[in-house]
Amino acid sequence: MRTTDRAKTWRLPAVLAATALAVAACTPGGDSDPTNGAGATDGNGGGAGAGEVVMISSQLVPTAEQEAMNNAILADFDGSVNFIGAEPGPFNDQVRAQEEAGEGEISLIGGLDGEFSSFAADGLLMDLSDVAEELSDLGINENFLELGRLGTDQQLYIPWMQATYIMAARQEAMEYLPDGVDINDMTWEQLTEWGANIEAETGERRLGFPAGEDGLLHRFFQGYGIPAFTGGVNTTFASPEAVEMWNWMSDTWQYVNPQSTTYGFMQEPLQSGEVWVAWDHTARLIEALNNQPEDMVAFPVPSGPEGKAFMPVVAGLGIPTTAPNVEGAKDLIRYLLQPETQATTLSEVSFFPVISAELPGDLEPGIQAEQEAVAAQTEAEDALPALLPVGLGDQGGAYSQVHRDAFQRIVIGGEDPATVLEELTPQLQEVFDASGAPCWSPDPPSDGPCQVGG
């Protein structure tokens, strides 16, 4: 009898524990821990906009970057900031929830051009022309300011920082570079040859792409692979040239480290030597280039038949019309654009400045190397800038998912690219129909939603 009694007493807590766990596991995004920035300030705030500024950002979300923001970049701000880094889904939800409620805590939004354009379309953003005017001495890049007007005569966001994706390689790889190839001016086909040489000589697959859960591989297809091979991005999604690109990727994959499907940030496998040649975001390569400057080189991305496609990433700062602390938010914008802060941002999280004013101090070797690679990429004769998705709003994730699905099915699953692209075309079109987003560069502009083509 004792056993059954005990069984009963055991069962209830166990079932309770199990249900609690079930709830916890079914709650999405439980890790978006809002890091409190109060510790980052010296506590004697009280500038023009006294009181806490709550800033939500879709940038600087990884824990290390949030820490850098709180402990270094915001350290000298004369006020208190609560910096919240959020994944695209929750980021979009929180900004819109505040708008729907008509009031809330968020005073400043840090996001990408595409995200702002969907907020602006719904009238969520305040005009910041006065702030832009006031900061004109800093020499904010005119093209970026133009982007920040989002096709209106109002300054809807102020450019904040920029980044892009480049290549990095370990010195060991250089001796296997195909004869006569210049790493600053090579093609994607030559990259494959390079990988094949390494594999033939060392028996190891040493190319690397960030195909893991946190990796940004979808940006490779959106800003590098597809535009470099097709000259477009969405209007050429299922074109014969796009099929070429996917065939190239599948062919190259035999020289890519198969552990790539676990890589989020390529700086880690580059430093451990698991990967010798990698493509990734500048902020996700910087540790390798800074920690082992003697062993690493940074270089521009290769070109495809249509040119050297690359994706410039412009992040901006905007104030929602429902902001509770507008003055504080404007103070924070002024602070984040100061040369000192832009220099700290560059050295801490390797997002490049958007101002032309000279930065104080010397650059770390890794930053220097990246800056040279970025400049070579931007100024290349066949440079083909491909914008980050614009105007997709809450469809941004679904857009990237199409490219990730294509990768899984074609490259990992070995399916026929033409068939897969044809099957995915309606899914991609649905993204445009749902968001109403027009085509963006390098696709020709469209009236109404972009039409996915082949």
Binding site: T3, A18, L21, A22, V23, C26, T262
Partner: protein, 284 residues
């Protein structure tokens, strides 16, 4: 007895009932409602169909089921051995219990990262194998090209991480078996195997049932270990729910996945309740 206590037991139950209603029942009903709506909020099977059409759906379902089938027997064999060792009252019994319980204090993701440092190409396992001269060049354990190997890695990591919770339930069960049963078995000359089969396992049935139910529910939710070890190389249901909710920003399909996990958990629980009835349930 009941009349003397009056309403007091029911009043004492209220807080936990309220807790369950607010934090479990309500979100569960909401999740099911979300799953049966399309993105514009109309009642429809659209989200369920999207889940079924999702390129990762069949892979995620198969991998999750494979993990449940592989992890649970391994964990039960291990947990049973560990519990019997502790119950044998060897020297340092307390120490063993604490050593075995260490993984309980480590979060799922942290455990995954520890195992990544073992299995990555430049990790501990390859370094040791190379040091011993068993292999010449590193073996790639975590490759999407060998999914069965990835599943084995997750089984190993999960077995290490979550066996102790079962062990603790079994130890508690073992320790409450009255000594008299073993003495009686000794009197009749039972062998060790006979004692395990005829005394220990039947008396442990309620604990086994609880442990199996708990472990099965947890296995259907496996998530962080898979992400850490396999990245995008393996899909599981909880990972898909997360992806649809945060990356794709479609709560309806995410809710469909969460609902599927819940249904599978309920099905697993029912299976164990029927297959392993306790004496009390027999009588009823």
């Amino acid at each position: 007895m009941t009349s003397r206590l009056g309403w007091a037991p029911y009043a004492l139950l209220l807080p936990s009932l309220a807790f369950l209603a607010v934090f479990f029942a309500t979100p569960m009903v909401q999740a099911f409602a979300l799953a049966f709506q399309d993105t514009s909020g109309n009642w429809s099977l659209d989200s369920i169909q999207r889940m079924l059409r999702d390129a990762s759906f069949s892979g995620a379902l198969l991998t999750t089921l494979a993990l449940v089938v592989l992890v649970i027997p391994v964990q039960f064999a291990l947990a049973m051995s560990m519990a019997l060792i502790i119950n044998a009252r060897l020297k340092g019994e307390g120490l063993w219990l604490y050593v075995y319980a260490i993984p309980l204090g480590i979060s799922e993701l942290a455990a995954g990262i520890v195992w990544v440092s073992i299995f990555t190409q430049t990790g501990w396992l390859n370094s040791i194998l190379e040091g011993l001269g068993i292999i010449d060049s590193p073996i790639t354990w975590q490759s999407a090209e060998t999914p069965w190997l990835l599943i084995m890695l997750v089984v190993i990591a999960e077995a290490w991480r979550a066996t102790s919770i079962i062990m603790i339930i079994l130890v508690a069960g073992l320790q409450s078996i009255p000594r008299e049963f073993f003495e009686a078995a000794d009197v009749y000359g039972a062998s060790t195997w006979q004692k395990v089969r005829r005394v220990v396992l039947p008396m442990l049935r309620p604990s086994l049932q609880v442990a199996l139910i708990l472990r099965t529910i947890l296995a259907f939710q496996v998530f962080a270990t898979v992400i850490a070890l396999a990245g995008t190389g393996l899909d599981v249901l909880a990972d898909e729910a997360q992806r649809w909710a945060t990356d794709i920003d479609n709560d309806h399909v995410a809710a469909a996945y969460a609902g599927l996990i819940l249904l599978l958990s309920i099905f697993g629980t029912a299976l164990f309740l029927i297959a392993l009835p306790t004496r009390e349930e027999h009588q009823a």
